[in-house]
Subunit: 152 residues, 2 copies
Amino acid sequence: MPCIAFRQAQLADLPAIIALLTNDVLGQQREDASSPPNPKYVDAFQAVLADPNQLQVVATQDDEVIGTLQLTFIPGLARLGAWRGQIEAVRIAETHRSSGVGQQMFEWAIEQCRARGCNLVQLTTDKARPDALRFYEQLGFTASHAGMKLAL
Amino acid sequence: MPCIAFRQAQLADLPAIIALLTNDVLGQQREDASSPPNPKYVDAFQAVLADPNQLQVVATQDDEVIGTLQLTFIPGLARLGAWRGQIEAVRIAETHRSSGVGQQMFEWAIEQCRARGCNLVQLTTDKARPDALRFYEQLGFTASHAGMKLAL
């Protein structure tokens, strides 16, 4: 497999990340692929970059962005004051699905959680994505919780 | 019902919050009720207080802490750059359960999410707490997702 690299995203990666978010069965209904990027994405990305507890991750191959996820480090009192790593908005480019990139990206992300002293990694996955649930179970995640959402 | 108030927790509230976390069917196995508080809780609370995107909430009645939850505000690119409010570690004092305090505390927390511009509130609830799941459904939450955890 050609070499895949992982790093924190920069502002120049924003169009590629939006393209990944949009090219998705659920994302295509709620994202905006227009160019230049919708200012809402630019504002959100500035907030992510300014927050030391957020890490927008990109997977690249030959400088092309082929995957992304967002990692959030959350301090908290529960579980003896445990830090949690939380993963959101996971996307792999259509051309690279089932190639092992997703697994590599998760292994890299989980390593970042360890390095930050987290003793738990958590995510929610839409029940409309049964393949994703199996993927996470193979990585060792347990579906012990219900993931509940309230739209405002 | 006597007047219930809600506010951000202060360091002086820490023992009361730890007592709430511990007096719980799942918490009693993983928390530490010793006094003075385990330094891990103190470190974690300092991290929560130092992070402008964290809000440790307490519900009080006559200056006594009778409930708590943690609110995290998470910026992100997905959903057109939506901010999410996330709720963790919800506890109500045994003597005040089923009294409406939980609902009031959630209404207050959801209002904070609106005030911060979130358009989604999310939480996960352990499947070992079926009553909690029904409580969240009554508040309008939908169990659309699986909540997955990986212990490190």
